[in-house]
């Protein structure tokens, strides 16, 4: 289920004006996602017959001028990544459509409703960096995404659409498999576990071949920028955060929904537009490694800068809404348990620390904690931060820390063995088993 980009504005502040849908245009205009429909809406992919360095540089400059940043969660400037790849050896291009977040459905939405935009972007980037092959990575527990990609690839090979050969790859659908180095590790033939990268700048490799990883949504945006140019791209969003992005709104809504929104739209508009009725409780922003935003701050624009000011980030485009009377502590405890379950198991602080934090949070939720629980929690959150090979424990720590702040009153009540009534209710934010049962049931 999708809807158009929001454009509600409030008098005074400069708000995004809205415009026609971009990423989901084909679907919204034709109701189809096949190649013919895609071509009728977007036209052919602007890939020249002979790709030269001038063209490649031009593409990178356009992407840079457009200000596109990675839509997979890191938010790194895409043009910088492309430039580095061009300067290095010819890499393998991996399209990351893994969507490890349980509360996210944007990747599968993109694959099902706009696969050719993603594949166009992949073809353009592959041509620019000289990639001999493209690996389109879809989680092995996502049959719709897999089917959509297979169909799209078949269509393109039949009609001979340009670009290097692309194949479907199906890594396991765990939380950390979508982490860049974990994905590359899996493509190299090993388990999908993140690698320790002592120096950030060093490219990921499989043997002697470097790998360039881009999120599916980022590539779809590249395909649009290549057609319409950077100025067009900047006509949506805000100057510091141009363009649109996909967000998945779930929780206290009628049903989880994926929306394409302009960056800079206030959180409240996004949430209202998804069918959640005011008043809202706190909102989880970014993903399960993101942070809570308190109800009073929901007019914060959805963009990296403003969100950072309230301790949040765009992340993987996940927005989880709580009802005002929900138990944020219980929700956080479940998510923490999930994050502990999803540890790759490689680093002691993550394995033991996240488990200990989750266990303490469950005790806190049930009102069974001891007097030192909260201080112990804070100490462990600090211990866990930054001591893993990847950012997984950092994200979990960030989420719990924000919970201790945003739900401070609840935390105090729970700590004094007076938990709210709501902790026994069903989970609001989607958490897979067994973490979903951890607060109420037995593990």
């Amino acid at each position: 289920m999708t809807s158009t980009s929001s454009s509600t504005t409030t008098a005074g502040a400069r708000r995004p004006q809205g415009g026609p849908p971009r990423l989901l245009a084909t679907w919204l205009q034709t109701g189809r996602a096949d190649l013919a429909a895609h071509l009728s809406v977007h036209g052919p992919v602007p890939l020249p017959r002979h790709v030269g360095p001038a063209w490649a540089t031009g593409l990178v400059e356009d992407v840079g001028a457009a200000g596109l940043t990675g839509r997979g969660g890191a938010g790194f400037p895409t043009s910088r990544k492309l430039a580095a790849a061009i300067a290095g050896r010819r890499p393998l291009l991996a399209v990351n459509a893994l969507e490890g977040e349980p509360a996210s459905r944007k990747d599968v939405t993109l694959l099902v409703h706009a696969p050719h935009l993603v594949l166009d972007g992949a073809a353009l980037v592959a041509a620019a960096v000289g990639a001999p092959q493209i690996a389109v990575c879809v989680a092995d527990d996502c049959p719709e995404g897999t089917a959509a990609v297979e169909t799209a690839l078949a269509e393109r090979s039949r009609t001979g659409v340009g670009g290097p050969p692309a194949r479907l790859a199906r890594p396991p659908g765990r939380y950390v498999s979508g982490e860049e180095s974990a994905l590359v590790a899996w493509l190299a033939g090993g388990p999908a576990r993140p690698r320790f990268r002592p120096t950030k700048g060093v490219p990921l490799t499989i043997g002697r071949r470097t790998v360039l990883v881009h999120s599916a949504e980022t590539l779809a945006n590249v395909a649009l920028i290549a057609r319409h140019g950077p100025d067009w791209f900047r006509s949506a969003g805000v100057p510091e955060a141009p363009g649109t992005c996909l967000v998945t709104v779930s929780g206290a809504v009628a049903a989880p929904v994926v929306r394409e929104v302009e960056l800079g739209t206030p959180l409240s508009s996004i949430v209202e537009g998804a069918g959640a009725g005011a008043p809202f409780g706190a909102v989880l922003v970014g993903g399960y490694g993101g942070s809570w935003v308190r109800p009073g701050l929901l007019d914060t624009p959805y963009a990296p800068g403003p969100l950072a000011a309230v301790g949040g980030a765009v992340g993987a485009g996940v927005i989880g809404v709580l009802a005002p009377d929900a138990c944020g502590v219980a929700e956080t405890a479940r998510i923490a348990a999930y994050m502990a379950d999803e540890s790759a198991g490689q680093c002691g602080p993550c394995v033991f620390g996240l488990r200990a934090v989750a266990d303490d949070l469950v005790r806190l939720t049930r009102g069974e904690g001891d007097g030192k629980l909260v201080s112990r929690l804070r100490r462990r959150l600090q211990d866990v931060d930054g001591r893993g090979a990847c950012r997984h424990p950092d994200g979990a720590a960030r989420l719990v820390r924000s919970a201790l702040e945003v739900f401070a009153r609840d935390v105090e009540a729970h700590a004094r063995h007076r938990p709210c009534a709501a902790w026994k209710r069903s989970p609001i934010l989607p958490v897979p088993r067994p973490a979903a049962d951890v607060v109420r049931g037995r593990r």
Binding site: F196, P198, T199, Q346, C347, G348, P349, F352, R387
Partner: protein, 78 residues
């Protein structure tokens, strides 16, 4: 500047994947490494002072999993 400090600084770091909590680093370089409640090293990230060079290299050499290493960084302005 009167001092002739080198343009890079050395920092002790641990590879958390390789580390298996033997704890030799905390025994050999207690000035820089302490153990968390699960026995894993918490490494001081600040530049290593020259007096601790020997201690650092011994700790790096003795780690049974070769998890400890020394990283060179450009000296930050502050």
């Amino acid at each position: 500047m009167p001092t002739d400090r080198p343009p890079t600084t050395l920092h002790l770091r641990v590879d958390p994947v390789a580390c298996e909590a033997f704890g030799y680093c905390a025994e050999l370089a207690p000035e820089l490494v302490s153990l968390d409640e699960w026995g894993y090293p918490v490494v001081d990230d600040r530049p290593v002072v020259p007096q601790l060079d020997g201690v650092v290299w011994r700790a790096v050499k003795e780690c049974p999993r070769r998890a400890l290493f020394v990283e060179q960084r450009a000296r930050s302005a502050w």
